[in-house]
């Protein structure tokens, strides 16, 4: 994040991450579809794993400051960071390909949503939490293809627009 435009773009994506978290669709309690992963993934795509990881951590905290609901439990931040990092690893510096999108999102679903979050949930809510694990698995697997498709469309558009938005006028503000 040497360059100011990158810093600011990452900041705006962070804001978007927080905003999108507010527009989640509740299917059942515990089962919520949120779209903030899109902003996090685009951050990873444009600025790489480190930035995505830090921004995900910041997003977790800010998200709680902005829409305080439920429990603030610090380990959830680790999940967010891990996911951000995965997106960065798979999507950074490469033209968007479906295979990469599939790989990144699937890993996030399995490791972050299913493994890590289940662990944290069980810490907060007691071991009974394993009772609804099957429902969570089904939900995540059903949603996976949709989420992948959405991610693919958004990433493609974002990559294109980002390039045109900043290259178009040829004025990338000069670093003094």
């Amino acid at each position: 994040l040497k360059k100011l435009p990158s810093l600011v773009t990452a900041a705006l994506l962070l804001a978007l991450q927080v905003v999108l978290a507010g527009y989640s669709i509740d299917v059942l309690p515990f089962l919520r579809i949120s779209f903030s992963y899109l902003a996090s993934a685009v951050t990873g795509m444009l600025f790489g794993p480190t930035v995505a990881m830090l921004s995900a951590a910041a997003g977790d905290i800010l998200g709680y400051c902005v829409h305080p609901s439920g429990v603030y439990f610090p380990p959830y931040m680790l999940t967010a960071m891990f996911s951000g990092c995965l997106y960065g690893i798979f999507l950074y510096h490469s033209p968007i390909r479906l295979s990469r999108v599939i790989a990144s999102k699937s890993l996030v679903t399995v490791f972050s949503n299913l493994l890590m979050n289940t662990l944290w949930n069980s810490m907060v809510y007691g071991k009974s939490f394993f009772a609804i694990l099957p429902i969570r698995i089904v939900k995540n697997l059903v949603l996976l293809p949709v989420e992948i498709a959405l991610l693919f469309v958004v990433c493609k558009a974002a990559q294109k627009v980002y390039n045109t938005a900043f290259l178009r006028c040829g004025i990338s503000p000069r670093k003094g």
Binding site: A157, K160, V161, T164, A165, R168
Partner: protein, 283 residues
């Protein structure tokens, strides 16, 4: 004749029951006939945005009714989408809503949502593009590569392509330069003349409203303060100024001359003023 659009005791209150409760629109009544060109003026915060968003059911009135061709638009809430196709709405800075890969696809978004056939969609999109003066070679480009003025036209075409009976435009010329403003406005006027449908134009530019509108609505602190012919509204320059609105410069000049006892009457455009003044002036 049944008015195309009618408001009956329209009210809207934001945040009912919270400390932030705010009456945005109160007791608005009006009738608009098919084919009229209506100007809507008023300050930011006067309630005009809320009012126009009730016309196509984006905001549901807290009380009162909106009648489209004599029928309450909320009679069957499930069919509200059909109302939105008949009352097209162009928001402020509409270029922000573009999202498709090509201009053509973006203009087609509305017609496609209407469930039309591909051929019909294509035809409508091309017609709409023509109305706003978009060249054919732009249609296959990405909307994000266009200039600001072109994007604005694409967005307006996207609403025109739904072929609405009533077209509501919220400051369509905001942020354009004077030349761009004039061109866009005359495109809207010729669209109106050709299709003969009803237009509601919200604008801060009194000159523009005076030039194009048949009748003018004046919104002030959530009420419909005046609704009369353009001539009649702008001849009340004192009343308008008292609520902080200006009349067009030309109207103001003529009304000062009139007040000072010269034999002229209210004018809306330069041409009218020239016509009146020339015989009265030495050459």
């Amino acid at each position: 004749m049944t008015p195309i659009l009618e408001a009956q005791n329209l009210c809207y209150t934001y945040g009912t029951g919270t400390p932030f409760e705010k009456k945005a629109v109160q007791n608005v009544n009006f009738k608009i006939q098919q084919g009229e060109f209506i100007g809507v003026i008023g300050h930011t915060g006067s309630g005009k945005s809320t009012m126009i968003q009730m016309m196509n059911g984006l905001i549901r009135p807290t009380s009162g009714r909106v009648l489209l061709a004599g029928k309450d638009i909320w009679e069957e809430p499930k069919k509200i989408r059909a109302v939105r196709f008949r009352v097209g709405m162009v928001f402020q800075y509409p270029e922000d809503q573009l999202f498709e890969e090509t201009v053509m696809q973006d203009i087609s978004f509305g017609p496609r949502n209407m469930g039309l056939t591909d051929a019909e969609i294509e035809k409508r999109a091309r017609d709409a593009a023509k109305f706003v003066g978009l060249q054919d070679e732009l249609l296959d480009k990405s909307p994000f590569e266009l200039s600001g003025g072109e994007k604005r036209r694409v967005a307006i075409a996207g609403v025109i392509a739904m072929d609405p009976d009533v077209l509501v435009l919220d400051e369509p010329t905001a942020g354009l330069d004077p030349a761009g403003r004039d061109v866009l406005l005359s495109e809207i006027v010729s669209y109106h003349e050709e299709r003969g449908n009803t237009i509601m134009l919200v604008s801060h530019s009194m000159e523009d409203v005076a030039r194009v509108a048949d009748r003018v609505m004046v919104m002030n602190s959530s009420h419909l303060q005046m609704f009369d012919t353009t001539q009649a509204v702008f001849s009340q320059d004192k009343e308008l100024e008292s609520i902080g609105l200006q009349v067009p410069q030309i109207t103001k000049i003529m009304s000062i001359l009139k007040a000072d006892g010269y034999p002229v009457h209210t004018c809306l455009t330069l041409e009218e003023a020239m016509e009146q003044l020339l015989p009265l002036l030495p050459r």
